[in-house]
Every structure is written in structure tokens, then in C-alpha cells.
């Protein structure tokens, strides 16, 4: 009987929601949450322990969290380490990738996780491990666990894992030599592709190039003491009645709020509607996310010239890159129109 250990966050570990996102790691014998389904799907393998760690704790105290968990695993029998599935929860995906990488390096066991393609964990970790292409919501649990278990079972049995497309994981940039079943040599395949290309027909390359989406660095502001600065945030700071009905997660809407005559944002007048963290601190003092108070003082001190009359808000949790891009594109004309020179984005 082989042995597996599963990592989950506070939510799937059933210790609580956002209010427990700061929870330090704990280890439990047996199976909690998704670990129970892994126990069913893994062949001839026992899930001996479940590790639970709050997403914020892992994000903000990464070294400590990783060291604690590695300490917990020390001396335990383990043939494979599984984390998630993390779906479209940004912090959870990064946590799964972080701990899988550390476990793989320290103990040399195979690791498998799952996340949605719209999350930051994918690009950060896909080269280091098998990351199955996961669903965007937790109702995909069954199929995501199954997909992870499918790869895990092969690893446990020492069977070869198929290519990324067949197995459903994110391509890792590793090349394997394979013999095609029909035996068509490379020269013939290349000429076929070339002919298709010349004829304007679709063809499929055997060596796709990774796409790196980088933006050239915008030149610095030359005359900061006369520059106009704008403040944006994805931390969900809105007037208490949330007039634009911005969603608490997976946002598609944004708002802008006039602060021309506001020296500091007051609790009770502004709050956060972000569902991805405990709102207590930001509700009490919204300046901890949107530092209007500090910006007004810095402006008076002459560090910069003026503050754009509005700050801009959306919510970053679960929000897809496509929606984020669109919202930014909708905000930009307002910044241009008012002659803004530079922008501060606070993200949570």
C-alpha cells in the first residue's frame, strides 16, 4: 500500500472561511475534505494525512509556513504529495504551487496539483510540477480530483505520464522523444506543415513557442513635484452603499469615487466589499488599502503635484484576466482626460 499526503486551504480543510485565512499550518491524521475523494480515486494508496493552512498565512508568512509544513512531513512515509484542487482561487493556487515545489525539493516525491488557467499559480509553477487544468468553481471538485488522481496513479505505479494535452496538465516546457504510431518521419511532417502554411491552411506546430506577455516599462515622471497622480485598487474600497454594485468576487464592474475634498477615508463612510479576506481592518480604516490620507499629506509636502480627483475600485479575487483588462481599458480614458502622469495600484 502506497501512501499519499494531501494539502488543502482553510476553506476546504473545513476550519473556516476568510476569517480563518490567517490560520497557521496544521496536520491531521486521515482525510479531510478533498482528501476523502482522493482516497477513493487513488489506486492501492492510502491518504494518511491532511495538511491545512490558511491562504493568507501561506501568502504573507511563506517561509515560516513552508518550514512548518516540511517539519510536519519529516519522517512520515509518503509516496506522493497532492495539493488542492485550487480552482480559480488566486492565493490558493500560489499556496499549492509553493508547497508542492518545496515538498518535491526536500523529499524528492512526485507532486500533483490542479488550478484554473486564469490564476497566477499556473505561470509561476507549471514548469516545476504537474498542474492539471482545473475548473473555475468548486463544483468541479469531482472531475478535478479525478484528473489529478489519474496522473497520480501513473506516478505511483511508475507508469509513464502522457503528454500535456492527453493528460490535461499545463505544458511544462519539457521535450520528450516519442515515436509516432504511423511512423511519418520529421522531414515529411515539416514539408506538410510548410505546404499548409504556404496555402494559408491551418497547421499545428510540433514546437509551440511560449507566449510571454511583457509590457515595456513606461518612462518615469520627469517632474514629480508638478505631476498628477491617480490611485487605483483591487481591494474593493467603496462608499458603504456600494453604489456601483461591484461584485465581492469575480468582479465585472468598477467604480470611481470623488476624493477632491476628502483628507482621509473614514470607516463608516467607506468599506471593503472584497470577499477574499477578512474585511475588519479595512472597514475600520479604509486608508490601509487606499492610502488617501498619506497621499494628501505627501501632496501638501510637495512630493508630488496633485492627486486626481477620483480613486478607482474593483475587486481582484476570482476576477479573470480578460475582465481585468477590459476594466482597465475603461478606466484609462478618465486618467488621460484629466492629464494624469502616473498611477498607484494597491492590490490585495
Amino acid at each position: 500500500m502506497k501512501k499519499a499526503i494531501v494539502y488543502v486551504n482553510q476553506f476546504f480543510g473545513q476550519i473556516g472561511g476568510e476569517e480563518k485565512a490567517g490560520a497557521a499550518p496544521e496536520i491531521h491524521e486521515g482525510q479531510i475534505g478533498p482528501a476523502m475523494q482522493f482516497a477513493k480515486e487513488l489506486e492501492d494508496t492510502e491518504v494518511t494525512h491532511t495538511i491545512i493552512c490558511g491562504d493568507n498565512y501561506m501568502g504573507s508568512n511563506t517561509d515560516e509556513a513552508v518550514q512548518t509544513i516540511l517539519g510536519m512531513l519529516e519522517g512520515k512515509e509518503m509516496d506522493i504529495f497532492l495539493a488542492g484542487p485550487a480552482f480559480q482561487a488566486g492565493r490558493y493556487t500560489v499556496a499549492c504551487g509553493t508547497i508542492c515545489k518545496a515538498v518535491k525539493e526536500k523529499f524528492g516525491v512526485p507532486v500533483v496539483t490542479s488550478m484554473n488557467e486564469e490564476t497566477p499559480g499556473v505561470d509561476m509553477f507549471k514548469k516545476e510540477m504537474y498542474i492539471l487544468k482545473g475548473g473555475n468553481i468548486a463544483s468541479k471538485m469531482r472531475q478535478d480530483v479525478k484528473a489529478m488522481a489519474n496522473v497520480a496513479n501513473k506516478l505511483l505505479k511508475g507508469e509513464p505520464v502522457g503528454d500535456a494535452e492527453t493528460e490535461g496538465y499545463f505544458a511544462r516546457g519539457i521535450r520528450h522523444q516519442v515515436w509516432l504510431e504511423d511512423g511519418t518521419p520529421a522531414t515529411v511532417r515539416m514539408i506538410d506543415m510548410l505546404l499548409k502554411k504556404l496555402n494559408g491552411e491551418p497547421f499545428k506546430t510540433e514546437l509551440p513557442m511560449p507566449k510571454l506577455d511583457r509590457v515595456p516599462i513606461a518612462p518615469a515622471i520627469k517632474d514629480l513635484p508638478h505631476a498628477k497622480i491617480a490611485l487605483l485598487n483591487t481591494g474593493g474600497i467603496v462608499p458603504v452603499d456600494n453604489p456601483d454594485h461591484i461584485q465581492s468576487a469575480s468582479a465585472t464592474r468598477w467604480g470611481r469615487y470623488n476624493i477632491a475634498d476628502t483628507e482621509a477615508l473614514k470607516g463608516g463612510e467607506y468599506k471593503t466589499i472584497h470577499a477574499g479576506f477578512d474585511p475588519a481592518a479595512a472597514d475600520a480604516n479604509p486608508n490601509v488599502i487606499t492610502p488617501v490620507d498619506a497621499l494628501k499629506v505627501l501632496q501638501k509636502e510637495g512630493v508630488f503635484g496633485s492627486l486626481h480627483d477620483y480613486f478607482y475600485t474593483t475587486v481582484g479575487t476570482g476576477t479573470t484576466e480578460a475582465e481585468a483588462r477590459r476594466m482597465a481599458k475603461e478606466i484609462i480614458p478618465y486618467l488621460k482626460e484629466d492629464g494624469v502622469d502616473g498611477v498607484i495600484m494597491v492590490s490585495t
Binding site: 504573507s60 484609462i332 502622469d341
Partner: protein, 77 residues
Amino acid sequence: MVKEVEKAGFPIVQMCNLIPVAKTVGSNRIVPTISIPYPLGDPGTSKEDQWKLRYHRTKVAVESLGIDIKEQTVFKV
């Protein structure tokens, strides 16, 4: 969002806690904050300490917009 704003020609600084994420996504100017629920002021510390931290990091962020950089940069706080 940061990349779209920068693409439009604005220098932009991202203040955030998850630096590796900002780096991977491709933010060019980054100033670290202290946590996710309270990036700029730990409610467990005194009001004065919170203000000092917020004032300092916001100042670093503003000033980073006036500094020419050649590569992705995490500014020291």
C-alpha cells in the same frame, strides 16, 4: 490591470503583498505591502505606527514613479 495602464503609457507602481505574483504577471514597478487584509497598516500596532508605515510606503511608491528603471524593480521599503 497594471499592464494595461502601463501599455497606455502611464508609469504605474503596484503596491502589493504577493511580490512573486506581481513579478510573474509582469508589473514593472513594485512596492511591497505588509499583508492582504491590511496592506498599509497592521491594526495590531499603534495608530502612530500604522500611519508611519503607510506614509513611508506610499511615499516610496510615489517616488518610484519618478525613478527611471531598466528592468522590473521591487523598491526597498
